[in-house]
Symmetry: C2
């Protein structure tokens, strides 16, 4: 199978013109087939605030009422996604921006209300990998916004890490997939005060131990849980790294 | 050649949930290959106003400064486009939302400043019809937002009528194209106070006469000029009609 690299980057990097430009240059250097998945939470929060809409986060996830859904549809699907697409085209990458509604490539269901009502947030139910694989094989580079749809006319807000993980799992049937999650550090750190203390390799056993010891905590836990789930579902490797390392693939490598 | 219908609808219809739903149902009834081109100016004006950005129109065209470009990128490329795509998917139409940057399908250049500085407005220079035709032939229905790009990293605001006309001309090499412009009336009217006074057929000679007599005026003139240009460039027919007539193709038929 051909190699495919799926890179997920957070909001901060793609929302600043300078860091975005560097990211796109680094991304363009990745050889072979590739996909970019982006966030945009900071812009959504900023624009919502200007519109008089308060952002509410529970466990790091945005509560999405009807007005906030409009904001994230504008910001993720429009502003952030299209600026990335235009930036990639300018350096010769044939990008195509997609939400889950486009080509019905990712269908979700509104999250059931339990302790928290997250509102218009979608849990992924189905990925149409064939249509994505077909585009990728033609040299097209999908740029995935963190939006899905319920195939009943409603867009839903879905975490970009989840989009990347679900796309990676589904595409693992068609490609040898490397899934890269980018964040502020060069990888998962043993010591949060030492940026060079990158854990080179992480297995499920080590992960459990680090969580118990609280070496790994906060938002890194769901990111790593998603990573192991992806590996178990056929993704070849997951790499947790800093955005400026994506073309080297250095960072924390997740394996079974 | 196979038949292709390109429908351009204005902002008003796609911005109201009820009229949008009816439009998408009517659009889905059009047989054969199809493309939808949409505006969104009212939403852009409303959201810009909420953000404290004043909309300025010259000759019916929006002046697009850097802040307004962000607004139209959000509203046209995100909010309006993705709501249409999700709505079409819900009724079994395999929609794909595109700006000119996506797949580099439509490249423009920033309009030179003459009497008026329109700002980040793009005049279309190149349409990559092959990539659109390939998607259309697979049963995919492109939904085109009124945004282009300069292939140097910048999105540009381009009138939806122009997008529809340029796409129609370029696709005329691949399909028998019918281009439909929808507006509030059932066609071009002989008497603006009589909604039933639809001109059934319009030729260049008749058009000139009506303009001189001021029977045809205002925003209808550039619309019709675009129509004749499209016909001269190989588009089979242009129909000016009301949105609720798109599946019947009644209205004013433009021919050479």
């Amino acid at each position: 199978m051909e190699k495919l690299t799926i890179v997920k980057v957070g909001g901060k990097i793609v929302e600043e013109p300078t860091s975005l430009k560097q990211l796109l240059t680094d991304f363009s250097k990745i050889e072979g087939y590739k996909v970019l998945v982006h966030g945009g939470g900071r812009s959504a929060t900023a624009i919502a605030a200007k519109l008089g809409i308060e952002s509410q986060l529970v466990n790091g996830r945005r509560v999405t009422d009807a007005e906030m859904l409009k904001v994230v549809t504008m910001v993720y699907g429009g502003l952030v996604n299209k600026q990335i697409v235009a930036g990639l085209q300018a350096i010769g990458v044939n990008a195509l921006g997609l939400t889950g509604a486009d080509l019905n490539y990712m269908r979700s269901e509104k999250r059931p209300v339990k302790d928290v009502d997250y509102g218009f947030v979608g849990d992924v139910k189905e990925v149409n990998a064939g249509i994505l694989a077909d585009l990728i094989s033609k040299g097209i580079v999908p740029v995935l916004a963190p939006l899905t749809h319920d195939n009943a006319g409603n867009l839903l807000n879905t975490n970009a890490d989840t989009i990347a993980g679900e796309a990676a799992k589904a595409l693992a049937k068609h490609f040898d997939v490397t899934l890269m999650y980018c964040f502020e550090k060069k990888g998962v750190l043993l010591d949060e005060n030492d940026d060079e203390s990158v854990i080179a390799n992480l297995t499920p056993a080590l992960f459990k131990q680090y969580v118990l010891e609280k070496t790994i905590n906060g938002g890194m836990i769901p990111k790593l849980e998603n990573s192991f789930e992806a590996i178990n579902a056929g993704v070849k490797q997951v790499v947790i790294t800093k955005a400026d390392q994506i073309h080297t693939q250095n960072g924390t490598k997740i394996t079974i």
